[in-house]
Symmetry: C2
Amino acid sequence: MPVLVVGSVALDSVETPFGKASDVLGGSAMYFSASASLLAPVQVVGVVGSDYPVEQLEPLRERDVDFAGLEHAEGASFRWRGRYRHDLNTAETLETHLGVFSQFRPKIPDAFRSAPFVFLGNIDPRLQLDVLRQVDRPKLVACDTMNFWIESRRPDILELLGHVDLITLNDAEARQLSEHNNLLKAARWILSRGPKHVIIKKGEHGAFMFTERTVFFAPAYPLEDVFDPTGAGDSFAGGFMGYLARTGDLSEPNLRRAVVYGSAMGSFAVERFSIERLLVLDHPQLRARVAEFRRLVAFEEELDA
Amino acid sequence: MPVLVVGSVALDSVETPFGKASDVLGGSAMYFSASASLLAPVQVVGVVGSDYPVEQLEPLRERDVDFAGLEHAEGASFRWRGRYRHDLNTAETLETHLGVFSQFRPKIPDAFRSAPFVFLGNIDPRLQLDVLRQVDRPKLVACDTMNFWIESRRPDILELLGHVDLITLNDAEARQLSEHNNLLKAARWILSRGPKHVIIKKGEHGAFMFTERTVFFAPAYPLEDVFDPTGAGDSFAGGFMGYLARTGDLSEPNLRRAVVYGSAMGSFAVERFSIERLLVLDHPQLRARVAEFRRLVAFEEELDA
């Protein structure tokens, strides 16, 4: 089953302790697509400027990513320039040029309106709500957000929460949104606003999935070399949604597996710049890493008498 | 089988957003004992001053904690006063009075010298080495340490690493000791210095156990109310060593279980001040929490064809 993603399509310039990359494919929709497309067909809605290197999308097209919803606007593409210092935990934004993205109004092509899985990448919650008005009752709608919108568009985010099945956000954002410092309380607060599932991402410390009655935790895969952390969260979302779209199964055990597939995708994404690693990833490698996640946390109970 | 612990015995005064406690039982050896004694007999080596409320040790004595190695010195007991702010992650030390602890030279009673499990709590590594000269080839020796010793006693810690089977330390300490920012690299560096197992504790983000060929991760139990984080690490160590001493089994699967028992103990310790929660903990509660740890991370692999 296809998964529809609406989000940013950018050109990133990134500096890490290990190297530099200039004007490489980036943005939430791009990382999501590169990740999800290993598991399911992907439909992209976004906008690029007249300077965007469209020929670089070819490898994704070959993987069943449909760019019919990628608007080509007059002007400059969204560009982000950032740097990671030695600890690799926080990106330092050096420049942001929104370009054509500042006027982005998502238009869902007719052929995409019945997508059973919808991921609303991190954009203005008013636009996220607008997308939901353009689609036919999907099987599952998930959204992402960020501190900027929580601060500036709180009422819209609260409205959005009433219309999504799942939200992914990081721990700082969950605390900011809920005004609870404790993550369990933060998750309960968010669940009470509508979503049936809340995924709280803690970067190198793993991810929680909360439902009303259950808590699931997947660690981050301990990598010896993190090359470029950009896009880990969107690659996580792509793996998660891609796995759900592939299986069409929304049971708790399957959602847990989806979180692990998401974590695995995030761990691959950071091994190289941009979507490079995801583009050469294959199923045996993915399965092997999922198996490693299992070994990482595996233990048998049993206390002696 | 008994487990021997050498460490600090203190009187703590703690302030958290939820309340205050004055001159309550604290110190690494005390948290360790309260935790381990639910699983195995414990032998304590430490020092207290003439002002120490010895009668408060009675509940531990009843749980098979042997204080024959607790020296009673003339002078004031070790006192620590600290505060936790709203995020509860880092203790702010307001006062430290070492008292009789500043002259502490561990003397292992004859009856303790054959203890099969030995835990060297966080004290001067020269004293930790001195303890090892006083015991007969234990089945397993583990040690803890801290930033202060890594900075001021580096050669002694490196020597110590050649004489212990396992070390527990937190992520910042592992980075400081190894001079590697990446935890996997830090763990490999430490393993190359002697210990067969390295446990890296990440507080609310869980704990890793590394061996030459394996990595195990146990999350921290997501608690809705963390009351007082003091002693979580030593309670972890007590649960870990207590479980090993109880089972006498040093296989990888059993070490993994021991990490989970340690994590469970740490999660109980923070529910109240001092060792209060540990003293009223029983086996069914402990088993139930270990089962919850399992549910927290449980997932089944299987990628469809």
